[in-house]
Point group: C2
Chain length 507, copies 2
């Protein structure tokens, strides 16, 4: 290749677009036009920089961009090369072959808000995700355990683990559950690669197209999307201050065959609501009466800031054969560890274990061994004490800040006793998606509530996660949120300030 010739019509001094971008366009045109065929070796950064009399970092940036466009690739020590001629467009032979599930996914993907395109200059404070912040992990103890494990029989950390999980971890998880008054036998337990896997396995095992699933409404987005993608019909039942509404639940159960009821009794996602003990008993009683099984997702059951966790539905008398129960270490411990558990009647577990082999064969031995050792040392109990105190303080900070800022604004919010989330309802006439745009401009984000509804969405609702940030960031984030709120209100032309008392209203 005569690179000088190929760049003869390149004008580095032309204004407008950044220099690296113009190099990208120039090379992209040469590649896409076929002048540079697949496999062509490009000049090194140094060579092209010398040729064009430009800075090497400009060339490096251009090459990076071309790599991300899929036009060139680089191989350490060998250089950069043109990729094989790309197809004329991004379409593919697979396009018209999606299953119904694959087709549904596309629609679900479009529900999620676009990634922020905020012009906010600094770091955005995110209240969007229910993901614990790194400062909450038992980082030092994990590191110490890892080092001890590496000094021991390291080979065991990489061996194949049985589909149902490592025996030691299984035993310790059963003990942990017994401590929450949930008694289960070994045959009723399986270890999951995180509790989303439990939802997927349960959907696979129990849902055919058209099957009826009952959920709280609103409920967990990734449960809705999984059930929907399996083409189940979902009936959402609203919540009152104690949990899922009994009258409406009964009406649905009476009418016909429901495959299962999916419930999050503690720190419900997205509302943060914890079901009262009385409601727990009543729901189980209804389920027994109509012989309808319950799929209990106790994703944040270990997080409770007022008197300790309530017993799960599965721990109540008569629940053993009716309730499939799952939990996770992702919320109270660390999101990247990807470990959860599921308790079900032994015959269900037997099949779920088989289905898990078809789904991901087994779960990482390394993470299971790490967690086993953490549990064996009794560290999880101590960690829960610490983390419950930490998250309680974050919750209180957020509630306090919201009350100070939004006290007279007509905004309503729930006071969660546990979990990760705080549910907020804007005054009539505002909507959370628009509020999100205003908020992103102010440097704060959250999750709009509409994606969590099964039935008609309340566009005024939104979910704030209070576990992701420290108290300073929470205070700052709520200030930004209120600044966004005032701008939004101003844009709507609302001049009068609503003087009603702040409400801690339960939906």
């Amino acid at each position: 290749m005569n690179w000088l010739d190929l760049f003869s019509d390149f004008d580095g001094s032309a204004g407008g677009r950044p220099l690296y971008r113009r190099i990208v366009d120039h090379l992209a045109a040469l590649i896409q036009g076929g002048t540079l065929p697949g496999g062509t070796r490009l000049p090194t950064n140094r060579e092209l920089a010398a040729l064009l009399q430009l800075d090497r970092s400009t060339i490096a940036r251009a090459y990076e961009e071309l790599i991300s466009m899929g036009l060139i690739y680089s191989h350490v020590g060998r250089g950069s090369f043109v990729c094989d001629a790309p197809q004329p467009d991004r379409t593919d032979a697979w396009r018209d072959r999606y299953s119904n599930y694959g087709g549904e996914l596309k629609q679900l993907m479009e529900c999620l808000p676009d990634p922020s395109v905020s012009s906010y200059p600094g770091a955005v404070i995110s209240f969007a995700a229910g993901i614990p912040s790194a400062d909450s992990y038992p980082e030092e103890e994990f590191a110490a355990i890892i080092k001890t494990l590496a000094d021991g029989n390291a080979g065991a950390l990489f061996k194949f683990s049985p589909a149902g999980g490592e025996p030691t971890l299984r035993k310790l998880v059963l003990e942990h559950l017994a401590g929450r008054s949930l008694k289960a036998s070994d045959g009723e337990l399986m270890i999951l690669s995180g509790s989303q896997q439990g939802i997927d396995l349960m959907s696979n095992m129990f849902l055919d197209a058209g099957d009826l699933v009952v959920t709280e409404d609103p409920t967990y987005f990734w449960a809705i999307s999984n059930f929907r993608a399996h083409r189940a019909r979902i009936v959402g039942i609203p919540l009152d201050e104690e949990g899922i509404r009994l009258d409406m639940l009964q009406a649905v159960l009476q009418k016909g065959r429901v495959k299962f009821i999916y419930l999050m009794p503690s720190g419900q996602n997205p509302t943060g609501l914890t079901m009262s003990m009385e409601r727990r008993r009543a729901v189980l009683e209804l389920a027994r009466r109509y012989n309808t099984p319950i799929f209990e997702d106790d994703f944040s059951g270990d997080l409770d800031y007022e008197g300790g966790p309530l017993p799960p539905l599965r721990a109540l008398p008569g629940a053993q054969s009716l309730v499939v129960y799952q939990g996770t270490f992702s919320k109270a411990l660390a999101p990247g560890i990807r470990l959860g558990w599921l308790v079900a009647p032994a015959p269900v577990v037997e099949r779920l274990n088989f289905a898990k082999r078809g789904s991901d064969l087994s779960t990482s031995s390394l993470t299971q061994t790490l967690l086993s050792e953490f549990l064996r040392r009794g560290s999880y109990g101590r960690h829960l004490e610490r983390i419950n105190a930490l998250y309680a303080a974050r919750r209180d900070t957020m509630l306090g800040a919201l009350e100070r800022s939004f006290g007279e604004s007509g905004v309503k919010f729930l006071r969660p006793r546990g979990g990760l989330f705080l549910w907020m309802t804007l005054p009539e006439g505002m909507d959370a998606r628009t509020f999100l745009s205003f908020s992103e401009q102010e440097g704060v984000s959250f999750s709009p509530g509409d994606i969590c509804y099964v039935g008609k969405a309340d566009p005024c609702t939104l979910r704030l996660s209070f576990i992701q940030n420290d108290t300073t960031a929470i205070e700052e984030g709520v200030e930004r949120l209120f600044a966004a709120f005032r701008k939004y209100r101003r844009a709507l032309g609302v001049q009068t300030i609503d003087k009603t008392e702040p409400e801690h209203v339960l939906i």
Copy 2:
């Protein structure tokens, strides 16, 4: 509880069943009869041993058994307790609710051979599973890396990872693939929690009930089971010495709409066969002609003992839009690490990433970071050299031993150039399941071939894994296998020894 009274009719001296077993029966009757209600605290080992004047280890064994029966549970430091009254039988409210998938699973579960009930007194040598042995892992380097990571920013090891995988790992996997002449852009890649997940995601995304999938026949059991469980129709195409038979493949593609062709071109499971270059080109050409996409499972593509790995189908010109390609670190590196990759057209990857979020949200950060560092150091390349030499020696040892023992027996076997497996065919009139029973009595096991067939199974076939044992154990295992073979043959009344030459026949 007056335990003396409760054991008044217990006769420790009665003959027949073992003592611990009789304690189990006695306590089980008390629990199931309601005399010991849920929550009752049992005597400690020491107390009951003293009471019954028995050894403490006998009591411990009885309690263990009761725990595994789900009748009691124990809590460290608190003692052992009776579980809540179990249901009258093992049935459950979920029983009649399985989906079609859940129903299919049950049938598939019944295909798998029962776990060995061999009376063999020593350790059984297993040639059954395609799972690398612990002595092949880069254990020391893994341990060293883990320690370094633990000393660094340990928090990062437990954070939430993007569904598509850690950026550094993604970049390094693309580089590894480029080294195998497979060029892909960042948007075409996703990281998997092991390659079984790829099969599951692809099934979910592309298969509806009744859809047609073409596979090699025989093929990977867990692929068949996954496709079947999704209620796809599978058409299996036999193999010849170069790979899947072109004439039969063409006949099927001609006839109608095939969703995809699932292929393992290198070290095919279970036959160990590696598709020739010419056949690779021809298969791709056929797929292009009939516009039928290929799902290429390159699970052992990095393992080749004769001249290095052949390029995958995806690396051939014209394959980019047609081939979904996946690979795994479970075979060449360590089975417990649970990491694989998938390359597909960008729009397919976009949806698969979304489906992965619905399936397990994301993959462990810890294992991804460990693997990234291993790749970054260039250690994977060095490991592959070592492991290919090690496995080549094991293959050669097994081939040599088989030839010496079975040379004149009428048994046929394939000589694999790569992968993990060696495919064996017994003489007409024998079958592999019966041979397995004989073999287990001799202290050796393998995988019967029949589970791997899509169409009519050849009952004479079986699969031997040559990577799981060191050369000494392989020699010993093959001797045992031949001892079992002679006993089986004697049982059949075959006295004459077939004097034909040993054959290295390709199926």
